[in-house]
Symmetry: C2
Subunit: 344 residues, 2 copies
């Protein structure tokens, strides 16, 4: 079964964006924004929460944090889960016809995702102000872009494990894992026939995430045993390779380029103090201890520049992967952060 | 000029090891141990210090810590700087004739280096006890192997940034950077014609070290400016790529496989407590703050198992690269550690 299907990721809705002008200057014809919703928008249209997703995810990912009786309660809130460009459901290399297909898909930016989502929220749903925007990693990058670009359009911003500008060290990592995909001779400049032809590149890319996603302490403690594996290499193959192998390399590259270039200061001519100073949403800025992508030091430095922001550090030996729903206690800690943010 | 020459790395001496039986069971015919010496062995033969080198290094590396008036003073001590197998001077893929040439060089272990060095120290120089063994990274792995395997043969052991067993997380890294070399189609199972044919693999390998060698804080602070670079990418290319490009991929793989498999507990049937408990040398075990290869937590856990060991944490934003002589104050801190270890 193809990975980018509703059989795998559940039903989506689709907003036709028409000819969508990207930040890069390219115009994407018949651009599409895929999304899911859970719950019901109330008459006041003030109970909507937007939950953008992380690198490699789809709209399905954040549904794991939504449930009756939990802080993200669909009986109380209306959840919009947008698919980012390049995720295989919104416009992506894998689903766009020539000349913008596959290796020729135009460069996309986080700001493009956020502008498309803003169109969905305001134009399609007629919502003036979201009760919250929140996401993990690239979902957090989108959250911060929302808070800077449309300060009045959200009441709360809760980015997890994301910074206002991609850390330089993390750009070195992006260069490495993007090159891993391209290193496979079958990649052929992005014009492979089947994504599975590029499985060596996908495995190499998985190895980079095995290195940087969890912490050294996770390996030291052999915490992969909690996931049912019997060896470190079994974990790398059975968890990381298994996760990435069904994905499309061009889709991953489109997302990774956005991640690498993320920088909300572009909204203020490169002035980060001014950009973050524009935020009026009540911000809870969350870092994961030992996160090798978005270190707590970088996130707390952002928090100091966001008016009234609350900085929270949490997490486990899973480091950046703390939000991957690998451990009940990690998920419970995140639920608690949502409960407190929404109570405020 | 070829990289593995005395023009580049200075003069060496060579010990003929004859047919040398490796831990892997292979017998390497006409095996050679290259080394340098500095200073004069005294009549009592008790002023000798052995300084094995790190991954990618040669005997030339540790000369940077030897100098008149410094703790490693050639007017007082006799320094032996052994070349590890695979460094291009001792027996290596790049200098061994068929059938053990290039991609067919047999697997070598840290214990093989240490056994060959022991032959040099005791057989060739007639030294019963070294005043100290010390090295950085793989040099530290060799130091620990010495201390466990030949407890009576050294008075002091000072490993920097090394653990008794390679951390699992670091093995994930070794898998990644070894694969980076092999990923180049020109690698051809190790039977390329010229090492420069594999420059894409060598550049990919350099990227892995750009990621893991320094810390995120080094990039955050743009500390690469201290080395004269004007951009992050300029540092990666001008420092890391420039460093690795002249090297031979098979030589690097031979060294990396030793690094990955390093485990002194093999001297005690896998019992690490027993193995480290054998150490009688006065041990100063040094960790570098933020080291992504050998985290201080792992090193201090080793130190607790070494009778009477002193654990020291030092270092800068350069993380594992703290010992690379990139900053005067880092080198001064290491000199101070040597001064204290030798005073004891």
């Amino acid at each position: 079964m193809s990975y980018y299907t509703e059989e795998v990721h559940g039903p989506h809705d689709y907003l036709d964006l028409g000819s969508f002008e990207l930040t890069s200057g390219f115009i994407l014809p018949e651009a599409t924004l895929a999304y899911k919703t859970i719950g019901t928008l109330n008459d006041a249209r003030d109970n909507a929460i937007l939950l953008p997703h992380m690198y490699t995810g789809t709209s399905a990912f954040m549904t794991a944090y939504v449930g009756p009786g939990r802080p993200l309660d669909p009986e109380r809130y209306f959840f919009i889960l947008p698919a980012q460009f390049g995720d295989g459901f919104s416009s992506s290399p894998s689903n766009t016809p020539p000349p913008f297909d596959r290796g020729a898909f135009p460069p996309v930016a986080i700001s493009d995702d956020v502008r498309a989502q803003h169109q969905l929220v305001t134009g399609h749903f007629g919502i003036e102000q979201l009760a919250m925007v929140s996401g993990w990693s690239m979902g957090g990058q989108q959250t911060l872009e929302w808070a800077v670009r449309y300060p009045d359009a959200l009441k709360r911003a809760v980015p997890f494990a994301a910074t206002a500008k991609n850390p330089d060290h993390t750009s070195v990592f992006c260069d490495l894992h993007m090159d891993a995909l391209r290193s496979d001779p079958a990649f052929n400049n992005g014009f492979y026939e089947r994504s599975t032809d590029v499985h060596v590149g996908l495995r190499r890319h998985a190895q980079a995430f095995a290195l940087m996603g969890p912490t050294s302490a996770m390996y030291r403690g052999e915490v992969w045993r909690e996931l049912g594996f019997a060896s470190r290499d079994g974990f790398v193959q059975g968890f990381l390779q298994a996760y990435f192998l069904p994905m499309d390399p061009n889709n991953l590259l489109t997302q990774a380029a956005k991640w690498r270039a993320a920088d909300v200061s572009l909204n203020a001519g490169g002035d980060m103090v001014q950009a973050l100073g524009r935020i009026t949403a009540a911000a809870t800025v969350v870092a994961f201890t030992g996160d090798l992508f978005f270190p707590p030091e970088d996130i707390s430095a952002d928090a100091e520049r966001i008016p009234g922001a609350k900085f929270v550090e949490t997490g486990s030996v899973w480091g950046h992967f703390t939000m991957f729903n690998l451990r009940e206690q990690d998920t419970a800690a995140i639920d608690q952060i949502y409960a407190e943010a929404l109570a405020g």
